[in-house]
Symmetry: C2
Subunit: 346 residues, 2 copies
DNA sequence: ATGAAAGCGCTAACAC
DNA sequence: GTGTTAGCGCTTTCAT
């Protein structure tokens, strides 16, 4: 060690026991809220704990078989506000309990999610919140086998036997597309999301259904690949604009893509929404920062985080949860980036 | 428990010991990289561990006096990209080691930072990264007393005896102000940051110094209070614009404030940068998303996170670190929100 | 209602 | 170089 050796050991329940004159197992009971403790004893113990500024050692607690009070949160990446907002919701809700967050990002080692899951489980997390895009059922199986509490966020397990919370991606996309149609657009470009993602698939489906429900021919040229990021949206929009007959509106699978679209459109010398409309999905906080303010489908990310926590805590408390899905509603937020097409065409 | 009771206990070093035919302390040594282990033995152990899919139990590890491989990260809040970017950097760098992040947000209980610090320390974090704005030295003292490794991020302890990483706030603000002056501005409004924050104070100082160095009278009317957030910037700008002689340029203490300024200016019917220039600080990813793209002082947030991790890990490794500060350079990023004043006045 | 005692899985002296 | 033995701080039977 460095300078002085006087690391003042933190007080343990043993110290509390001495101070309050009871056995240390009684202290443990009093502290952990066990019901059969005389209330006078409990008071005495709590008092002593307070005076000693006692802080429980979570490691010991969970080693001994109790709760660790840690929730493992596995996310792909931190560079994305989409994730930040979800985490924000998780954090908010968790703050009400005394759970803490252990944060894992998979970007560290691509595809090693299962390893992370194993670590989290083995490191004593009481439950897991998974925001991992591409779910491989390998570790989901392991989780199930151990009856380990976890909740899937914004992702469905195809076998649907997980607790999960998602938003109405398809309906949201439908509503958005319909809005564009009602504005008079007949040529609506679509920037798709990351392949394989449930949300991406659903949003595309919503777009397609809306089109066909309104008797609009689906032009496959109008669907171009994006990646849920600014750059992808930018590139996709360039393609769209260079089409022989460019769309009069672009529906981007998420706001990030939409931001890229805005950029590309501006560079092309076109004006939003006069020359072309842009619509996003997510309603990130940036959406009202860009100019023009982005009309977009609000996905309740913060609330999804909250909801997932609620489900998880419930599942930890009462392990025999039946698997269910919470579906939160999306909502079209009309701002300034959409308008009727300049030249109405049918 | 719920359905089946067959929770398959995770293998322990004891299982590895049996499988590889050595004592379990040897296993511990082999696994934790102790050097005096015959390499054939080590290989045998590692092999067995692999086959068993062994995952170490961190709780036990740290309880027994080893490392927990957890770094506690204390942040005020998650709703802010400024924080997100720092965390991003932390995460990036930490990914190279096998440390994990325990994330604490103080917004849960205002002013209870010390309690959090105590919890983190007591829960076996190997080190702390503190991004807490208003540092109360109360827990810093405790940390010092215990020789507990920690690094301050974007915050200085007035007594300067902590490891810390900050950016050149004052110089950055100076450069920015000077840029505005060189553009021809003589009436430069300043939206201040959150009171008490080191960065806020330094930026204001940089602004003032630049002004006086260029012989420009400091008009106290031009310095209006902000709070580092959009709303604060918005309100501050309204005040600035309603001045008898409004400034021709506004330097906001951070990008968030600048975004608010842009909004207010737009609502006022003015154009950026033709009618008035806006300059920010931080260079959040949003800065190039807004329109016009924000000219701002780049603060290397991601790198600050990285650097803090590097320092912390070093400090954990070699506890006898002398206290030092790493100062990372800011850089003026010229985009589209600044231009010479419409009417040159002296 | 409370005390005693046995570990949880692991590291770190201490022996040999 | 490797085995033996204590605990780390706590929860949880099992007694009483």
């Amino acid at each position: 060690m460095s300078r002085d050796e006087k690391k003042p050991k933190a007080p343990t329940i043993f110290d509390i026991a001495r101070k309050s004159g009871v056995s240390y197992s009684t202290v443990s009971r009093a502290l952990s809220g066990y019901e059969f403790v005389k209330s006078s004893t409990r008071e005495k113990v709590l008092q002593a704990a307070r005076e000693l500024e006692y802080v429980p050692n979570q490691q010991a607690r969970s080693l001994a078989g109790g709760r660790s009070n840690m929730i493992g949160v596995l996310v792909p990446d931190l560079s994305n506000s989409y994730i930040s907002e979800i985490i924000h919701g998780i954090d908010d809700e968790l703050a009400k309990s005394d759970y803490n967050i252990i944060l894992y990002t998979t970007h560290r080692h691509q595809g090693k999610e299962s390893e992370y899951v194993a670590t989290m489980v083995n490191s004593g997390a009481d439950g897991l919140l998974l925001v991992v895009p591409l779910i491989s059922s390998s570790y989901l199986d392991a989780l199930h086998q151990q009856d380990f509490p976890y909740v899937l966020l914004d992702q469905m397990n195809e076998r649907k036997q997980s607790l999960s919370v998602i938003a109405t991606n398809r309906a949201g996309a439908y509503e958005a597309t319909q809005y564009l149609i009602e504005l008079g657009h007949r040529h609506i470009g679509f920037i798709s999301g990351l392949e394989g993602l449930n949300s991406a698939t659903e949003r595309l489906a919503g777009y397609k259904t809306a089109l066909s429900d309104h008797g609009i021919h689906l032009d496959s040229e109008y669907i171009v690949g994006g990646d849920f990021r600014v750059q992808g949206g930018y590139l996709a929009t360039q393609k769209l604009l260079s089409l022989q007959k460019p769309p009069t509106a672009i529906f981007a699978s998420n706001d990030m893509s939409a931001f890229g679209a805005i950029e590309a459109i501006r560079q092309h010398g076109l004006h939003i929404p006069d020359d072309i409309s842009v619509l996003g999905f997510d309603d990130l906080s940036q959406a009202s920062l860009v100019y023009p303010k982005l009309t977009t489908v609000h996905q309740p990310l913060v609330e999804m985080g909250r909801e997932a926590v609620i489900m998880l805590l419930e599942c930890i408390e009462y392990p025999a949860q039946e698997m269910r899905q919470t579906i939160l509603p999306t909502k079209l937020i009309i701002r300034d980036s959409c308008a009727p097409p300049a030249i109405m065409m049918t």
